[in-house]
Subunit: 191 residues, 2 copies
DNA sequence: GTCTATAATCCGATAGAC
DNA sequence: GTCTATCGGATTATAGAC
């Protein structure tokens, strides 16, 4: 692994653990095991290093929401993606960025985050529309709205889990969403 | 307004705008319009000032979730509280704290946040249980689970709104949750 | 390409005059 | 009770030897 990769890996870890504002170049270099000057050889500074690290993280994670696209019925795919194990107390590596004041102000960083959410929400919308078309959810549901509701359940689950320092609230939030989807399914649908 | 109140007010504002870790005593004093030493006369340091400011904020906000307890039917109360106007791009003054690494590590601060969520979740649970008892929601719903789901929709709505820098995702997430509750209501319930 | 040394600034906190 | 001055250490970044 190159020195450059060591630096992006260390930055990605620290972005998750501490966020952007609270992570210093010094810490990144210490974790990567390189000297002070190396980072400024490969990157123009903290900002550019974070852009590259965050892009790499999102590249990995975007693959996960493709679980919404696999073989089962649309509603089954929705429940399958909701139920992916998520370590609530660690927080979401992408969603956490939105609470960092320095990230929200940084046009390039926040654009990367917004883009990742757009990709995921697009997959949600398509799957929800398919569920409605298949009669698994009532026609009163607006796919663009429910997509944001379910993405919010996941993001909010992280918030509740971190507030308590426990996994429980995350799992409960997911169970509640699934039970609501099941109840809506049982309502005047035609399957 | 006393110097002490000026300091807690300034700290409360900065906790909202920037979070705990990113707020320096220097900024608090500047916003409050007092000199360096004044803060250390009234408070032992940044931590104690934040404890007092956060407690005050939560005191104000906890009143809001009592909207779940008013006169209408349980399901109407749930929808009423979900639909309270919330400025998504500003973030939640309480939920935001859970993403601050210095807050999560501070036992006293995180306990204040956890307590605020517990109070709100308790009100959600009671109202949901009442809705089930009234036949407005199916008996398959677990109040403790759905309480966390709906609290998560609100918290996650803030995350999505901040990611886009727009109010839209917050409102959409709420609309989706309300439509899901309506669909669940229409399902095999007995009213 | 990597390192050490150092810049200027800010951090949270303290000391002590008034 | 409020102020200014200052501490020791951290910050992001640059300079320049190797």
């Amino acid at each position: 692994m190159s020195t450059r990769d060591d630096l992006t890996t260390a930055m990605a870890e620290l972005l998750w653990e501490r966020g952007y504002a609270a992570t210093s170049p010094r810490e990144v270099m210490a974790r990567a095991g390189v000297g002070q000057g190396s980072m400024y050889h490969h990157f123009s500074g903290k900002h550019e290093l974070a852009v590259e690290a965050l892009s790499a993280v999102i590249g990995e994670m975007t693959g996960e929401s493709s679980l919404l696209e696999g073989g089962a019925s649309p509603l089954e795919r929705m429940k399958r993606y909701l139920s992916v194990p998520r370590a609530g107390t660690l927080g979401c590596r992408v969603g956490r960025m939105t609470q960092d004041p320095q990230v929200v102000v940084d046009a390039e960083l926040i654009a990367i985050v917004a883009n990742a959410f757009d990709t995921m929400l697009g997959r949600w919308e398509q799957t929800i529309a398919a569920a409605i078309a298949a009669g698994e959810l009532p026609a009163s549901i607006v796919p663009a709205d429910l997509a944001r509701t379910l993405a919010a359940v996941i993001q909010g689950g992280y918030v509740l889990a971190r507030a308590k320092g426990e996994q429980g609230p995350m799992d409960a939030a997911i169970r509640g969403a699934v039970s609501l989807l099941d109840a809506a399914h049982a309502a005047g649908t035609d399957d």
